[in-house]
Symmetry: C2
Subunit: 177 residues, 2 copies
């Protein structure tokens, strides 16, 4: 099962496609990663249309079953950037929904923890971890690519994780026992 | 020429369609207005897909040549609301671009000034002005509808405004005597 991680932006959207594989130590192998570059001088509506077209091409080529993005938080330093990014995020989520793909939203701390073991890792640590996982000398550039790959691996791990069997306990027996 | 004003939101998107008419004192007449209500309990991607479908229906039915929205500013009180709204705004702009419609982004102050004469009018004043223009006893409900109508009239006025002829002046003659 393939998982496409996306790191949305109005100039660059990073993508990374991972084939989930429980026999792999990393939980999967990277199929392809890259960026969707939008025409920066065009009006917003045209940029969004270009993004839609580029995403459709990636979905056609890579055929993921799951599309993963980070969940949106509002405590960023630059609300304007977050608002513009959300236009792109909306178009990407729409593209996934239109094809009936599963959409997974992961908190940023979950992505960091999956990559580095710590939910508080900084951006450079996440990128170094991605490079190490892929056996590269340095992280993929631009950083949006490394971020998208980290999202894809984190989502693949979740897809692979066995659902824990429910634990049945008779608490009354234990506490009143 | 018809202008469709949109007031995007993830729960409700208001729309108002105005036929621009230079012979009308208001600059046009209202063709139709209403709301697109999204399924509030569904995941974000599905809500965006529902919005896309609803917008397509409105564009089919009303056949506007121009789609108008307010430009986005980041000094709102609630960045999270603005970020979620921007997902919907992206989907609406994409829908317009895909059909090759002209997209007009108007600053909120321009919309207020067109409705009331003052760029600093508050929300209630804009809605009262919309009600007066349409000859209604009270503003259309929900408020998203009145806002969308105000956006449509402001954009229609811009569409109708004659392009001023270029003024040719010999500045050197004027300033150098």
């Amino acid at each position: 099962m393939r998982v496409l991680g996306l790191d949305p932006g109005l100039s660059l959207t990073g993508y990374g496609c991972v084939a989930a594989d429980p026999t792999s130590p990393a939980g999967g192998r990277l199929v392809e990663a890259g960026v969707l570059r939008l025409p920066s001088r065009r009006p917003l509506a045209e940029r969004l249309q270009a993004l839609e077209t580029d995403l459709a091409q990636v979905l056609d080529d890579l055929a993921p079953a799951v599309v993963a993005v980070e969940s949106v938080f509002h405590h960023g330093r630059n609300p304007r950037t977050a608002i513009m990014m959300a236009h792109a995020r909306g178009v990407l989520l729409l593209g996934a929904a239109r094809r009936g793909l599963e959409v997974v939203e992961l908190p940023p701390a979950t992505v960091k923890r999956a990559a580095t073991g710590s939910g508080r890792a900084d951006k450079a640590q996440v990128q170094a971890a991605v490079a190490a996982r892929l056996g590269l000398d340095g992280p993929p550039e631009p950083p949006d690519v490394a971020d998208a790959i980290a999202i894809a691996f984190a989502a693949a791990a979740r897809v692979l994780a066995p659902i824990p069997e429910p634990t049945v306990r008779d608490r009354s027996a234990r506490t009143r026992g």
